[in-house]
């Protein structure tokens, strides 16, 4: 297992594998986007309460799921950085942070836009919007901390500690905000086995989630490849790569 991790963690191996993978991921991503958008915007019926405005769900919910997921990736790769010192983990964290922040930003703005027809105002201190906002601050802090170090190795390790503390705090933040908030709707999909929404609405949502996830993986892999080339440019294989 450990050997496998190390092989996978070797920059050259990772670079080549990710190049091949990226093509397939891009294909899956585009397919999911097309199917999800078609299903969500055209096929799915309008909601009997919210009318067509609910269709924002197809971009809002995946964005907020991904915002949390990417933060988990930051924390996990942080733990790997601290324990095993695998370079790729540093790169993954560095490449993930901006896209994670983008997802958080999207979850916030689409949530606010959705709020206007629903609540009559762009912003209410709803529990999920508020903790999303705090999550955005966590991302911004992470990016600010990382970018203020000159030495990338130290930046990665300092960021790892911040991400780990952040990830421990996220449930507490979420719970405290929920406790405090009186204006909040229950989670739309908490359990997949008893969906509170119809499957014709659910399937496009899951497709969009897959699209977001593959999009994230695609962009993150590209970022990781950039970091690899930058840090390994003294090695023979990168030199060869540059000749092409």
């Amino acid at each position: 297992m450990y050997k496998w991790i190390h092989q996978f963690g070797s920059p050259k191996y990772f670079y080549n594998i990710s190049l091949v993978l990226s093509k397939w991921i891009a294909f899956v991503c585009i397919a999911c986007f097309i199917a999800g958008l078609y299903g969500g915007l055209v096929l799915a019926p309008a909601d009997y309460q919210q009318g067509d405005s609910y269709r924002i769900i197809y971009i809002h919910v995946p964005a907020s799921w991904m915002s949390l997921f990417v933060y988990l990736v930051l924390a996990t790769s942080g733990a790997i950085t601290l324990i095993w010192r695998i370079k790729i983990a540093d790169f993954v964290a560095r490449a993930s942070a901006p896209i994670g922040a983008s997802f958080t930003f999207l979850a916030l703005t689409t949530g606010a836009i959705w709020g206007k027809p629903m609540w009559g105002t762009y912003w209410v201190w709803d529990a999920r919007l508020t903790s999303e906002l705090i999550l955005l601050f966590l991302y911004l802090g992470y990016i600010a901390l990382q970018s203020s170090f000159n030495d990338k190795r130290i930046a990665a390790r300092a960021g790892a500690i911040l991400a780990l503390i952040g990830v421990i705090n996220i449930p507490i933040i979420h719970y405290s905000v929920e406790w405090w908030s009186t204006l909040h709707q229950g989670p739309t999909i908490s359990k997949l086995d008893t969906p509170s929404i119809h499957y014709s609405m659910l399937i496009p949502l899951l497709l969009m989630l897959a699209a977001y996830k593959t999009f994230y993986i695609y962009v993150a892999l590209m970022g990781v490849r950039n970091e690899i080339i930058e840090s390994e440019y003294n090695t023979a294989w990168v030199k060869k790569l540059l000749d092409n």
């Binding site: 802090g141 600010a144 901390l145 390790r157 300092a158 500690i161 952040g166 405290s176 905000v177 406790w179």
Partner: protein
């Protein structure tokens, strides 16, 4: 083992003496704390009822900002004069030494801050229950802030500007702030504050068990 406990008290005593000798740092942040509290009534006019509703929250926000400000100095001189290397490379557990420093900070800054807050409550003639709730929440909340804050201080020390420190601390201290404000609000309408107190206590325990370890790890990273 007893030697390690000895170094804990040596460090604690040393930091307390240092705080007493270089008073400016923590006195300035306490003055800053008082000024922010005073600014609010000046901005919102002299409507006593409104002020009474606002002031507990104001005290808490001021405490948060003042803690951010005062934490900055907790490791600064040690970094400047090389003591931090001696501490990190010493024969004793780094977490123990770091804990002593954090406790010293709380004793010299947190306790005066709590006393001032109670005095402020009395000056603004808040109900006794509210003052009590303020006392309890500050007693549980300020050490949490010092603990998590110290990790962020180590991460950001020597980097450009102190804004970064606030940017890191403030989002993480949101739960403490929220539970404290809820407790104070409950107290003002004569309701129980037990649930919030438990949460604050739980977060404090989490901070006690995690922050010294994280701060030590951060120290080793920053020195490399």
């Amino acid at each position: 083992m007893s030697e390690s406990i000895n170094i804990f008290f040596v460090m604690l005593k040393r930091d307390l003496i240092l705080a007493m000798r270089d008073k400016t740092d923590f006195i300035n942040s306490l003055i800053f704390f008082i000024i922010i509290i005073v600014l609010f009534p000046l901005t919102f006019g002299s409507d006593a009822k409104l002020i009474n509703e606002l002031i507990p929250g104001v005290i808490w926000i001021s405490a948060l900002l003042a803690t951010c400000l005062s934490l900055e100095s907790i490791f600064r001189s040690d970094f400047e004069d090389g003591t931090i290397e001696q501490i990190t490379l010493s024969r004793y557990p780094l977490t123990l030494i770091v804990s002593a420093k954090i406790i010293a900070h709380w004793l010299t800054f947190g306790i005066p801050l709590i006393i001032i807050s109670i005095l402020m409550g009395l000056i603004f003639s808040l109900p006794v229950d509210v003052i009590l709730a303020l006392f309890i929440t500050l007693l549980l909340g300020t050490p949490t802030l010092s603990l998590f804050g110290s990790v962020m201080v180590v991460l950001t020390i020597g980097l450009r500007g102190s804004m970064l420190l606030s940017l890191l601390i403030l989002p993480l201290s949101m739960p403490v702030l929220i539970f404290s404000i809820l407790a104070v609000n409950n107290a003002s309408i004569n309701q129980s504050i037990i649930a919030e107190t438990y949460f604050l206590g739980g977060i404090l325990l989490l901070a006690i068990s995690l922050a010294p370890i994280a701060a030590s790890a951060a120290l080793r990273i920053r020195l490399s």
